[in-house]
Amino acid sequence: MSRSEFTVADAYTYDHRSTLRWLQSHILRYKGLLFTFLLTTLGMASAQSMTAVTVGWAFDSVIQNEGRAGLTAAALYVVAAYVGYGLFDIVNSLAIRVLAQRVERNARDELYLSLLSKSQTFHGQQRVGDLMARATNDVQQISLFVSPALGTTTESVLTLLVPLVTITTLDYRLLIMPILFLIATYFALRRYNDNLSPVATQLRATFAEMNAGLAETISGIEVVKGFAQEPAEEGRFTHNAGAYRDAFVREGEVTARYVPLLLYGLLIGLGFGHALYLFMQGIVSVGQVIAFMALLGTLRSPIRFLLRNIATFQQSFASARRILEMILTETELDQNEAGVAQEMVGEVVFEGVSFGYGQFASGEFASGTSANGETSLVLQGISFRAKPGQTVAIVGQTGAGKSTLTKLLNRTFDVGNGRILIDQIDVRDWSLDSLRGQIGTIEQDIFLFSRTIAENIAFGARADVPQAEIEAAAQQAQAHEFIMSFPNGYQTKIGERGVMLSGGQRQRLAIARAFLSNPRILVLDDSTSAIDSNTEDQIQRAMHNVLAGRTTLLITHRLSQIRSANLILLMKNGRLIAQGTHEELMAQSAVYRQIFVRE
């Protein structure tokens, strides 16, 4: 069992040993539907063959002047066969389509759950676009795999085989041409499959490239226009779209050369010739020739279906592989359910902590590692101790590793070397629930969900928080007033990525969100940079009260806040170069003094 940050007790387990088995286990979960589908397919193929044979009877009875009785009987049989076929068909197509929808739903559910269970390291490395492609297009592709591809292929194979059996009932010698045809078709299909595979891959890759490139250009349109780089972007897009066009044409060329269709054309002529020859020998009747031709006619649509299905199969397998790859990506964190779950007091100790973003790197993600592997460490040998309730300010140049340091505390990432203790217990020994539940974070990049303001504030707390508590939190964060200025108040929906709100407003909502979750340890990463002094005053006062008794890690540009912290950590290039109170550092550190002489 792989490690995971989040699991659900009653989740269905699928077979992850290979792509094929994974698909199989998804489909076999609904054996009833599958069985119904197979049975009705068989019924359909039989009904179809029966139609062809009875049509033959009808002809024979007319040619041999058997009168109306034979004809009437044959016609009634044909009606019965068609109606039977229709009934089988309806059950059949519903069964396979419902199966497809279930598989799609379950695959999506499985992927989603596995995404939730992955650590932040994993998510940090993923491109959102790529992940979304897997969760949307690839999952839909899985449903196309079941229906129509698997459905019509099973049908095709049975409609190829059942007529053969039926032909035997006419005369076994008629089998020669169809069997030669099937053998040739088998090899032709294999070749077609081999030819199509690389082209299909290319088609998909070029489309993804074009899409991603365009998305980036549009996201950065202000920069594109600001630097008048439209021609360069157009060149890039034209290049990508051209690559897709080339792949598209190549796919067209491969499908144009679909040999089974040629074989089928030959089969009709040669089969007819052979049947005529047998007729001349007096071996078969006219009716049998007609039935034989009708049976050959039923082979037409399977051959056409296979043309499309082979492409779908290939795409589906590629999609399934990508989904499974994502599900199987190892994550290095575990939710540690059995770990310590107790009320935190709030003592924080770092002991010789080192960390690098490349430390878990597996192939694809290795940009944090340089050739000698040394510079890959973002933090090196960090040690400090914060008593419960203390405020620790972290100071240092941009990129020194301040934000990274705070992310180790709630195990967004795990340390490479050394350890971090909260209340004398290694963070890795805490239950993840308990750990994260008691550490509140306000990030630099504030993310709000496109839900109502009330739901956003209540996000971190338990379900059904009373409105009064939400409002109290908003009041503490100085957000109540501006929230009430919206026509819908707390029920206002926030737009895409919270764009409706100003930076300061978003920050205050994030603060309210953190307040409401009532954490023992608070991490504030530059969370008040875009707020004016008045608001800042109010928030600071609120914070001052709320922070009392809570250990706080603080990254800020406010000199006054730095100065009044209990402990100041001065970082440079991933190392802790000095620590102490403001007065101590002013006395000891030239770098530290430099910050303050400017003002």
Partner: protein, 598 residues
Amino acid sequence: MGITGGLNPEEYDRNYSDRELVRRIVRYFRPHIGKVLLVAAMVSLISILATATPILISRGIDTLAANPQLQLLLTLAAVITVMGALSWGFNFVSLWFSARAVGDVVLALREDAFRAVMRRDLSFYDQFASGRIVSRVTSDTQDFATVVTLTIDLLSQLVLVLVIGLVLLTQNVPLALITFAVGPVVVIIALVFRRLARNAMQQAQRALATVNATIQETVSGIAVAKNFRQEAAIYDDFQDVNELAYRVQLTRVAVFGSIFPLLNTVSGIAVSVIIYVGGLMAIERDISVGEWYLFVQGLTIFFYPITSLASFWSQFQQGLAASERVFALIDDEPLVVQTANEPVGRLRGEIVFDQMTFNYSTGRSAVLQNFSLTIPAGETLAIVGHTGAGKSSLVKLLMRFYEFQGGDLLVDGRSIRSLDLSQYRRQLGLVPQAPFLFSGTVAENVKYGRPDATDLEVETAARQLGDGSWLEDLPNGLQTDVGERGARLSLGQRQLVALARVLLQNPAILLLDEATASIDPLTEAQVQDALATVLQNRTSIVIAHRLSTVRAADRIIVLRDGQIIEEGSHETLLAQGGHYAELYTTYFRHQSLEYRPW
């Protein structure tokens, strides 16, 4: 990305008449007329062969029933075989050339759509979500291709219907009429189906869009969910949405899953009727056995195109709707239009806002009202004011990102409406409030405005900022991969890259919109030194966030609701004790060392 795939109508959408739509589509195919005609010819030939085969077989059967001659029969079989091979050959030629024609047409359409998007000013991007724009350019154009392939398919089937219909009529009128009688039945079923299918399809797509949006949001906000340990709650939400989508899909499945069996059964009953009636006629010798056979086969051939017409119709309409969306995107006009393309040399940098009036969109209150401001060449101007006062808007207007409604904006005495936009923008250097980085290395991002810059120039520009020690913090220096949107850099680092990018461009006018907001106090001090030299000999507009920046400016203007309410130097303004003094206490007090709110 097709996530919420251009399902919902946008404001610029319009309805094209069918004729207009066809005209537009045809125009794209005109350059490929040769290929199109060839494909059409091939497709017709295939249809004719498809009809000829059963006719020949029926002749063969007649010969069998009457007086079988081996010679004749073998010739017949040989002809049918050759026709099978020919049909494949025609099919090959038609697919080969239609892939080229369609590929080229879609490419042309995509390029047009892309160019149309690039032409648009920023008001367009404010209004429409980027995912939607992307899906119009990539997915909707793809659906357009589907229309074309389907049209070719449908046309060929229509030819087939006509040919086989004629042949049947020449054989026997009553039987032919019975055969044609199924047509209306199928059409009625198809019409009912179309309505159901359309509804079911739309609902299914909406449900899918909701599921995908939910996933998208989870993926983007996963850090928050994890910090608050809310996985269970959002998983519950997801399951609800996923289940709902499944249920909606079931409706679609029920509609689409029953239509073909239904149509097949109708055709089966028709076949039985033909067999019976035809059989009776054959008994009476009204028709030959071969003709009877031809009708039985002909019905199937006749039927197939009609059912597929019915089933592809919704796909076809979807494709048409997609084409409509693409054309609407292409046809919409940008608001920013230049009156002339006067060349722009190196600018001196004198800027005059002359009685300018501006709002972001009609109906909104004006952001600027008769706004006048003169900035002499070489001046460093600081703009301060509350959030929403219009500071960023001034800068964006200067960049000509938006069209203004009244007055004029003159640079070096010329209206910016008359200038060559590319050349003009290259003279301006903007560091926006939120820095955007493209995926790639730091160096590539610094070079963005000047792709031809040498490594040395890039390095020099980067080192100008804060003694360059920020480069040492990057794991691979200038070659560090910044990740998607710069996610692998800290926020401050992203701003430094954006600054270096502008420095390398060496613009005549520098526009800094709170450009150092996320940079730490240590680096800030050093960046200020660098900026001081850069700002010295060029016109600069600095929207200040930091006290130190404001102090260093030649002149400060205080903006409120789009009006200048005070101007002067830091000392004089502070001494006046007016709005600036108030702003100072509001915005900058907390940046000072003595600040203590409680």
